[in-house]
Amino acid sequence: MSDMLRAPAEIKYADELDWLESIDDGPKPFSWRLSPKMVRLFILGSERADGLDRDVEQKWYGDRSFVERSIVTLASDRGLLLIGDPGTGKSWLAELLAAAISRNSTLVVQGTAGTTEDHIKYSWNVSMVIAKGQSRASMIPSPIMTAMEGGVIGRFEELTRSTSDVQDALISILSEKYLSIPELDSDNIVFAKPGFSIIATANSRDRGVNDLSSALKRRFNFVRIPVVTNKKSEAEIVRFRTEELLRRHNIELEVPPTLLDVLLQSFADLRAAAGAATSDDEKLESALSTAEQIGVLEDAILHSNFFGAATLDAETLAGSLVGSLARRSPEDLAILNKYLHGVVEPRSKENGGEWTGFLEGGRQAIATLS
């Protein structure tokens, strides 16, 4: 077992990446480690028709054209901006892309309200400056600057959370592809090496907080990642992430497929209800994304493993669902209560099975919380 709680994609899939690199005979743009076709194969998994000796697992689920457009954007002159609702897998796709293209997905700037231009460009090691004066040695390069120097992919998470003036620091990096250091007299320009590009992510729910300037928008290609509503792919994603989780925690526990169906169906129902709601009070605060589903399942699995009978049952799942989704005390609980009695109860009477336990667990959880 690795001593990292969560290994980045390039370490986790190092074997696979090595192998793909060894068989890759396609043309590679710049200093890319894999050709665009191989990057796509790494992310979307292999088909039998690809004629490969070993299977490559699918790691990101969604429309094929999104991945293709993203890869092509990185091979072009522009930065890539993945935009979408929370929990749609933007960051995961960004990490996979960076790992496949440059074997380094850790050059990340996290955009927050407190992000400054220094985080994007460089800052100074104050004691070194006092001791030796300003020089390249006393500089602390930002992850983006490091990416420029190495000709690899830099990432900017939650771009729209940082303020507009900070965002605009990216404009010159993306168009001129160099960074000047006016404090230095010589060696004062860092040129980006071929292969450098930026993958940024932005949350569409934050729109309007710190809107991107037109100049910056022009330098990014936008790829919008929608919420997965296809039940089949959603099931795939949940299964994939859960297996990974179980592996990570060394948990021997089986997730019954019927229970997975219950979870998917309940999220589909709640999404439909949110779509039909006319005011914010009538819908859950949660975005009901796939990531949220995984969170619910993860919670239930951990709970069953450590406090339960080491098997996952419907009651625990319902408890986790209520616990994760009830964020505002009267409103969310009321909606969940209505859902349990209006939708789950008739279904449990009609179909029985896991729904009966689910209803019971949900009731108990709501009773505890209210």
Binding site: R69, S76, R218, F222
Partner: protein, 924 residues
């Protein structure tokens, strides 16, 4: 070796292996496919497999027709549509052939109207075959597919509602309405799994893209034999993998038997050489191995069932690329892209396509055909197909660059901040995407993906997003038009009669018509027709801007927005219902009134419409009599308000225009009087019947009373009905009181006392608002109650406690607005009369009812009237009569000497006399 069809072969093999019965079944399928191809090629009557909206098919067709120049063409198209084909000359493609039936005989009546359409686009193989056959002397075109009647005969358990495909949003997509669509050469996997498999493994998003990449492009330059063999091969595979034992499969097999039976019949009848014939059908059918398939003598025939007695009408309706896409579930833009590809291939190959003479938008000159080339023995091209070298087009840089520049221009016009830098980026991205997807050159699909990637940001600034702009750029939607000569008589009649307006009604933009009926009385006929069209056509086709048509109204000027160009289909479909719009209107009105669910209100509306739009007293009488019948048979009073409103309007109309009321009106009033009297006691207690309904019933009874009595009704019936009514709900109680007041059994003081008692009783106070609602509704039957209602409302505002009053106020406003909007003016007028108009007057103002309370005598009958003076002079007689009637009365006190105006008058008699003189009335 690699070849253009490698990818296709891999895909098909993969699909066969996965979706057949596992790898074991694969050899059988493969052998079967080769056999199918062999079988199709050995048929002496040449089979030409096609696929719909495939430029490659159309190109191959053009080439083949030029080479072979067949004498007879058999086409997979409903045989009864044949006479329509020559009318295509008068149209601009795409149009659709339509068969329509509204009078059904042999089909469930509720499924009417039945409609079948077969769209024809310019770049299709079938159009090439049609144009060749109709334009070349000595060539016969025979449609061999089952008739439209059989389409519905063979439809399993015909549903009352056909597919809701036509309900798409834009008018262009809705061009076909809800007709059943037929396509020649429908070559699409028959089950979702196969399509999904092909899309998934082909790494494309939709079927059209798959077809374009794996079949269309490799086949574009292929010779006839390769084309034919590949198409049969694909047809064969889809056929072998399609789910059998389904209704669709059975129907397809029957169609094949049907078509071949017809072909053999034709061959036998004309004795034409099979080598001179060409059979154009979908690739799916080309691979058929049924016993009844083949032109050889002795092949068993299919027993063709007779058509039903349903009367089918035929016509052409305009179609559009987007309508075809919507109807047949194709990806948006795919038909447009196919059309653009067709045009491009024509330019590149320098082929002259066949075209019907006189076709709108077509070429003018036509060259004679070169002599046919000698027939070659079909060689095995399949082996070549499976291993031939690539002959793909290189990258057409010029074209791609043009697209990139144009899309940026379009995007800018739509509000995007796109620049030349974007054009460069799109160019680069298109090539990268095509490379990644394994294509030699970017397809339009790659290009549109690239454009979306580079231009689309977080918001769409205008009406259209980049993907839609790409569709427009790559050909855009083409909308067909049916020429005047191909229109049904009704549509031609409409255009003829609207000609005096001097507008180009075929244009696909909104035309504004200004009708000055005073200066040009001859336009009155146009106006009349427009109103009829307004009634018959959907909302947007003709829309009045100024002018309205209601009973008793006459306009000197009207202004209309006409959009008949875009609603040509609906006008043409009206043509299936009758020869003139008036006839159609009459049928519609009759249908509405004789509908099993029709009510008296519906029939009255039909009467009103017939008066407005048709000058046909006979029809109006029939509809009126129907209304009487319906009213007498009604068991609910839900429609009472509507009935009252409509009959009032009609009576007013007849009173002002005719010397006497028509017979049906009299009967309606007398029947209505009796009917509502009978229903009244039940309606008063029935929880289902609302206050408004009961109010309207009373309104009918009271306002029609004099008329009804003059026609022989008896008032006692009404009095009895009111006496039998014992409502429980407060609102209805108030209504009953109002009715009793109207009938004279409850004078105003008593009514006032009762209201006072209600307000004094704390247990009833919460329900008081409902009483008020009842009184408001009573304004309809008893308009003279208005002062009392104002008084009651005023009292309620004054005396109701806040917890009751405040929640009720908004309720009162919404109820008034929703249920008694027409009564609000009456109330406001009355309130205006009652309450002072200025602030100054408010100080001295006392409400009339309060004034009455302080000096009861003042409220009594004015003692100045002549009658009163007469009675007062002979009190003994009056007292005796009062005694006899049992109502003890009391005489008002002699009027005290009044100060104010009266005193002023007596003080200055000269002035008073002068004013009287001026006014012209003699002094009393």
């Amino acid at each position: 070796m690699s070849g253009p069809f490698d990818a296709l072969r891999d895909q098909l093999l993969g699909a066969a292996e996965e979706l057949g019965d596992g790898p074991a079944a694969l050899p059988e399928i493969l052998a079967g496919m080769v056999d199918d191809v062999d079988h199709a090629l050995r048929e002496p009557l040449e089979i030409f497999p096609v696929c719909h909206h495939s430029p490659a098919s159309a190109l191959a067709m053009v080439r083949r027709l030029r080479e072979k120049q067949p004498k007879v063409i058999y086409l997979e198209l409903c045989e009864d549509m044949a006479p329509l084909l020559t009318e295509l000359r008068n149209c601009r493609l795409p149009v659709a052939l339509q068969a329509f039936a509204s009078e059904l005989d042999g089909f469930p009546v509720e499924s009417a109207p039945l409609s079948v359409i077969a769209p024809i686009t310019g770049g299709s193989a079938e159009y090439q075959a049609i144009a060749y056959a109709l334009e070349t002397p000595g060539v016969e075109l025979v449609l061999v597919d089952r008739s439209t009647d059989h389409v519905f005969q063979w439809q399993p358990a015909m549903s009352a509602e056909p597919d809701p495909v036509g309900s798409a949003g834009t008018p262009e997509e809705d061009l076909h309405g809800d007709a059943v669509g037929l396509e020649i050469g429908d070559l699409r996997p028959r089950f979702a799994e196969l399509e999904e498999h092909l899309l998934h493994h082909g790494r494309v998003r939709h079927w059209s893209e798959w077809w374009d990449q794996y079949v269309e492009q490799p086949l574009a330059g292929a010779d006839h034999d390769t084309y034919r063999q590949v198409m049969v091969l694909i047809g064969s595979l889809f056929r072998r993998l399609a789910p059998q034992n389904t209704a669709r499969w059975d129907s397809d097999e029957d169609r094949e038997r049907y078509m071949w039976t017809r072909i053999r019949q034709h061959l036998a009848a004309t004795g034409v050489d099979r080598a001179d014939c060409l059979y154009v059908c979908g690739a799916f059918h080309a691979a058929s191995r049924l016993a009844e398939v083949g032109s050889a003598d002795g092949t068993p025939d299919f027993e063709i069932t007779p058509r039903t007695a349903t009367k089918w009408l035929y016509g052409l309706i305009p179609s559009s690329h987007s309508a075809i896409e919507a109807q047949f579930g194709l990806a948006p833009g795919s038909v447009s892209i196919a059309a653009a590809t067709w045009q491009k291939s024509l330019t590149k190959t320098r082929l002259t396509p066949f075209e019907l003479a006189g076709q709108k938008g077509g070429r003018k000159t036509r060259k004679a055909l070169p002599p046919p080339t000698a027939e070659a023995v079909p060689a095995d091209q399949l082996t070549g197909f499976l291993s031939g070298p690539p002959t793909l087009d290189g990258l057409d840089e010029q074209e791609l660059r043009g697209w990139c520049v144009d899309i940026v221009r379009l995007a800018r016009r739509s509000g995007y901040l796109a620049s030349t830098a974007d054009a460069i980026a799109i160019f680069e991205t298109s090539i990268l995407l095509a490379g990644m997807r394994g294509r030699a050159r970017p397809t339009p699909y790659d290009f549109s993906d690239a454009a979306v990637t580079c231009i689309e940001k977080d918001v769409v600034p205008g009406r259209r997003d980049v993907r839609r702009l790409c569709e427009i750029l790559l050909g855009g939607d083409r909308v067909g038009q049916v020429g005047y000569d191909a229109l049904p008589p009704l549509a031609r009649d409409v255009y003829d009669r609207l000609a005096p307006l001097g507008l180009n009604l075929e244009q696909r933009t909104i035309q504004r018509a200004l009708l000055d009926l005073a200066a040009k009385p001859e336009l009155a006929a146009c106006s009349q027709l427009l109103w009829v069209l307004r009634y018959l056509l959907p909302d947007h086709a003709v829309r009045p801007v100024i002018g309205s048509r209601r009973l008793g109204e006459k306009h000197v000027q009207e202004s209309w927005d006409l959009d008949l160009g875009r609603h040509q289909r609906t006008v043409i479909e009206l043509g299936y219902e009758g020869v003139t719009v008036e006839q159609v209107l009459e049928q519609r009105l009759r249908r509405a009134a004789w509908d099993p669910k029709a009510t008296a209100a519906v029939a009255l509306k039909a009467v009103e419409d017939s008066l407005l739009f048709l000058a046909s007293p006979r029809l109006t009488d029939e509809l009126g009599n129907r209304a009487v019948e319906l009213l007498a048979a009604e068991r609910t009073v839900d429609d009472a308000p509507v009935v009252l409103r409509r009959i009032r309007r009609l009576l007013a109309h007849y009173r002002s225009t005719a010397p006497a009321l028509p017979g049906w009106c009299r009967r309606f009033v007398t029947e209505g009087y009796a009917h509502y009297c009978t229903m009244l006691p039940t309606a008063f207690v029935d929880g289902e019947a609302g206050v408004r309904q009961v109010g309207a019933m009373l309104g009918f009874l009271f306002s029609m009373e004099s008329l009804a009595l003059s026609f022989g009704c008896d008032r006692a019936q009404l009095e009895l009905a009111v006496r039998q009514s014992h409502p429980e709900s407060p609102a209805k109680v108030a209504l009953l009181w109002a009715a009793e007041h109207q009938l004279g059994s409850m004078p105003l003081p008593e009514l006032r006392t009762r209201v006072g008692e209600l307000l004094a009783n704390p247990l009833v106070v919460p329900a008081f608002p409902q009483y008020v609602s009842g009184f408001v509704q009573a304004l309809e039957p008893v308009p003279r109650l208005a002062p009392f209602v104002v008084e009651t409302l005023s009292t309620a505002f004054a005396r109701l406690p806040d917890p009751v009053l405040l929640p009720w106020l908004p309720n009162l406003i919404t109820t008034l607005r929703a249920q008694a909007a027409e009564l609000v003016p009456v109330l406001t007028r009355e309130a205006g009369r009652t309450f002072p108009g200025s602030l100054a007057a408010l100080d001295d103002w006392t409400a009339p009812w309060n004034a009455r309370g302080t000096s009861p005598t003042a409220a009594r009958v004015a003692p100045t009237s002549g009658a009163f003076a007469f009675l007062a002079e002979h009190p003994a007689t009056t007292d005796a009569v009062a005694d006899l009637l049992g109502c003890p009365g009391e005489w008002p006190l002699p009027e005290p000497a009044t100060a104010g105006p009266a005193a002023l008058l007596t003080d200055f008699p000269d002035t008073a006399a002068a004013i009287h003189l001026l006014v012209g009335s003699p002094l009393a």
